[in-house]
Symmetry: C2
Amino acid sequence: MRDLPQASHAEMANAIRFLAADAVERAASGHPGMPMGMADVATVLFSRFLKFDAARPDWADRDRFVLSAGHGSMLLYALLHLTGYPGWEIGTMRDFRQLGSPAAGHPEYGHGAGIETTTGPLGQGIATAVGMALAEEMDRARFGADVVDHRTWVIAGDGCLMEGISQEAISLAGHLRLSRLVVLWDDNGITIDGGTEAATSEDQRKRFEASGWQVLACDGHDAESIASAMALAQQATRPVMIACRTTIGKGAPAKAGTAKCHGSPLGAEEIAGARAALGWAHGPFEVPEAVRSAWAAAGARGSAARLDWEARLAASAKRGAFLAHHQGGLPEGWREALAAHRAGLSGSGKAMATRKASGAALEVLTAIVPQLIGGSADLTGSVNTLTKATLPVTPQDFAGRYIHYGVREHGMAAVMNGMALHGGYRPYAGTFLVFADYLHPALRLSSLMGLPVTYVLTHDSIGLGEDGPTHQPVETLAMLRATPGLVTLRPADAIEAAEAWEIALDRATGPTAIVLSRQDLPVLRKDGGAGNAAARGGYVLAEAGCGPREVTLVATGSEVSLAVEARAALEARGIGAAVVSLPSFELFRSQRPEYRAAVLGNGLRIGIEAALRFGWDEVIGAEGGFVGMTGFGASAPAEVLYRHFGITADAVVALAVERLGHDA
Amino acid sequence: MRDLPQASHAEMANAIRFLAADAVERAASGHPGMPMGMADVATVLFSRFLKFDAARPDWADRDRFVLSAGHGSMLLYALLHLTGYPGWEIGTMRDFRQLGSPAAGHPEYGHGAGIETTTGPLGQGIATAVGMALAEEMDRARFGADVVDHRTWVIAGDGCLMEGISQEAISLAGHLRLSRLVVLWDDNGITIDGGTEAATSEDQRKRFEASGWQVLACDGHDAESIASAMALAQQATRPVMIACRTTIGKGAPAKAGTAKCHGSPLGAEEIAGARAALGWAHGPFEVPEAVRSAWAAAGARGSAARLDWEARLAASAKRGAFLAHHQGGLPEGWREALAAHRAGLSGSGKAMATRKASGAALEVLTAIVPQLIGGSADLTGSVNTLTKATLPVTPQDFAGRYIHYGVREHGMAAVMNGMALHGGYRPYAGTFLVFADYLHPALRLSSLMGLPVTYVLTHDSIGLGEDGPTHQPVETLAMLRATPGLVTLRPADAIEAAEAWEIALDRATGPTAIVLSRQDLPVLRKDGGAGNAAARGGYVLAEAGCGPREVTLVATGSEVSLAVEARAALEARGIGAAVVSLPSFELFRSQRPEYRAAVLGNGLRIGIEAALRFGWDEVIGAEGGFVGMTGFGASAPAEVLYRHFGITADAVVALAVERLGHDA
């Protein structure tokens, strides 16, 4: 190796600053201020503390780095480029924010090596990082500290800390004493609207302390101050927040320290001024060899540790279990056990709420699949997510498999994302369907990232009764069905509920929502769930019997049994009526057109769902009939509400008769 | 008046306890634990501190009481009954949770006198209360302390404080130093899953202090301890949190202090035990006369103050302004000014982003309508909600009309609800459309309560370009359109944007979402917006010209100009094509069927929207064509994305030609 001139910390940090500023300039959009402000902190982290080997971004025991302030994406991209992550050549810096580039506007998981999670919607990164740190503790409890010994580092800005989800995450992390989690707060006093004093007067240090965090501080432009804080953080027994006092856009002569450098290119003059001020005599996308070499060394710094780790893993008694866990395959036998469980249900015929049927399926699955990690947002007894195999995770014991998330739906969803991203785990957790509203921004990221997270959403209609309209979803199914990448299942009975769980476990690359009734429902299927009918999204549950099919009653969930009742009444009048159970719009949409046409028939279609019609015309046509809700619900016993809102077998029969022009 | 035996504090509190426990028992569902636990605190509040006159629930200068822990609704209903609010006779206690009763499962605004806001979804109440307290300060700045001199009292439980929205609310209230806001924290250490120690270790006192609150504590079962804290709170110069240490289900012999009394009836035996333990020798729904009389006196306690206030108001120079404000009518002239503004736009023909057009309309409106209170979740410059007439509200000056909400979308929406509920104000505020996801639970309450709140949602599609899929809504329009009671408008040009604002101002009883482009759009309408075409929801913008209409291109927002382009190309080929602009599904749905049929035509329909098809079949039929998104977006310049995703005039033309079977 040639004898290279040593690069200084300042030069290494400036390399980040100008890659960021020049990339934003070239793209004519982006956020230069944050990367310039946090360049010193990031340089110290990546060159001295972060455990990683750029050549092996898949190293399981690497530290995770989460840029919660995702708009500062060029900070991350510059680091990935400079440290030598595969696929991050200099061209990617020039292609910032261009179609197909890994250097997207915000970090997108799966678009390039080293991007640990998708960020941009503020607050999501810090909450996802809590899930990663939790997964690490859970891994350590399972596989030992000799193979699991890493940290999660987060850069979060004022915006992240203003979002409510950050409090849920901070509170949960403090409660669980996730001592391997370090949040670097970019304390620059600036948000888009100007100084943070316009909107907040919070004492962030005290706030974190209130949740049981250790709080440190540093001068975010002084490498030794930063390093001292990080070294202390490595000794912590609680999660750590380091307040890094920085100047946004550090180096930009006129715009540094102001909102002007937050979200738009600096402009040629300002960049030239920054070059002069920081003594950076290099052109756009030019990094002098000494600096490049220092950064390459930083990127390779962890390779010895990685090799050591590989040796330790090879020697570990837990090697097999660790690899099985991280390679993500599910153990043998779960499908067969679930099939046997379904077959047993068919015989019993006992009415059962699908939330309870889901719990019964989980009993079977959690006993076999150790990757399943349950939880609930303080509704454990209602959502039936706790099983005998899943003991609670506590600050004292991370060997458990059930997380009491507290009344923190949004944080819960993001934490599940983090566990799934960390690798191996298949998290599921429950709340009431209507509160999917509280967690949707994180569920959207489950979908966008393609994570195998399962949402258990119970009390799925006016069927929950007396709790009233605040608790009765009417539009929530539409919201879920509208979310790309999500499969929403609303099972009609205990067998479909068990089928839904098979579908969820088979989905390794995307989230699933299982929508369940509070109230008991009869077991409708007599086939024992052989072949998993629900996996087709929709199927003929009962064909017309008394003659050719004149009407198809298409229903989901609790309304399928109502359709079965209506069918009997129609058939008694000599009207050929079929019942289609449609547990999933998405899965049904993906079937062949011929299948869909055969299932739906070409006569009158009537949709039945205790929710709004919005979205149903895809199935029943604009000319189809619909029996369901037309607005918000009300507070009364469930059976009263079904009558009040006219969601009854009689109403279905009357509508069919009217539409078909038969005599009443 | 007869000489009645005096009722003790304990007896008054026990009256609440047993009304609650017995009502839950009779309904066979509900939450007895919280009312029993907080009965002492509520008794002290309503009998000694809360400024109200039960006979006049509409008294503008009354204190507001918000039961953020809405599941404890029987606490509120018992108080409304005992203090003599109109419509809360003893029968309503028996009808708890029955259809049509004001005593719904959770408090529902508008269902009965004295219910200041709908609560139940946790965290909403405390955030809404911040809006009420803010509105009160704003009222005082406008109308003087002689007519505006009240407080907002909140009961919040552990669940409320775990929800992220509570942090947004606490932080904003602390920042604005809302010294008339008092939160009574029901510190009972219990949530549904059991002891709070399962999920939280937060030091709530320190947390509130970190946000600038004054924190007090009391023994929540000692009337004098409670009263001392409340008296101190009345002297505060900052918002106050009083930690009330209580026992959930106080009095229930076996279940008090446990989760068992949280969410289900106590059972006959336990209630009998509570009667014995508390010395309450009265049957269900029986309140002895002395207690009834003491409570009636509490309910009438404020009538003298109300009469004084009425006299002060009558004498106030601000009387006219105050009444005009609180009676909610908008001043004369705004409609005409907006019409003149629209007419001016028509002539200019200058391309303009609809977000900017919205800002221009707001300039006109805010200059005339003082009730309009603007704001943004830290995106002021992007969402164009700040006008010359709206100066910022600051802790030092509540005369302003613009609120820097910070990066707190969810809190922002709830605060707007609170301002609207307090009376007179017409709040509007902006964020990016995709972040409607963060605020939807509060928007849902705007809809459920029928509040005139306007959501300004910009950057409404892939047209925002480089920020990428995290920032590009594709399912968000469907989510909004699925929300009952909300009118969603996606204007096509500057004129429709101004029409949208007219529609929003005309909606006194429900929220409006105005969905706006980042990118410039040509002015399409040549009629100057006379008559407000957008108010019909959809209309023919351009009829087929070259012959009979063969195809109807139905588009919204930024895609209407694309439809106009496609129409020109189709007409050039001799295909009669009409363009329908469809700014609002909801308003269009409410038109007469004949009108809708005429607008949409009976030929081929093609929907065009840079979003998912979900929900569109209502308009174009399942057999209609659609040009739009099929999944998440990507990061690239907007025009590149439109081509990449095939949302172009060429694609529309090709689809129309193919479907019509014309030669290409």
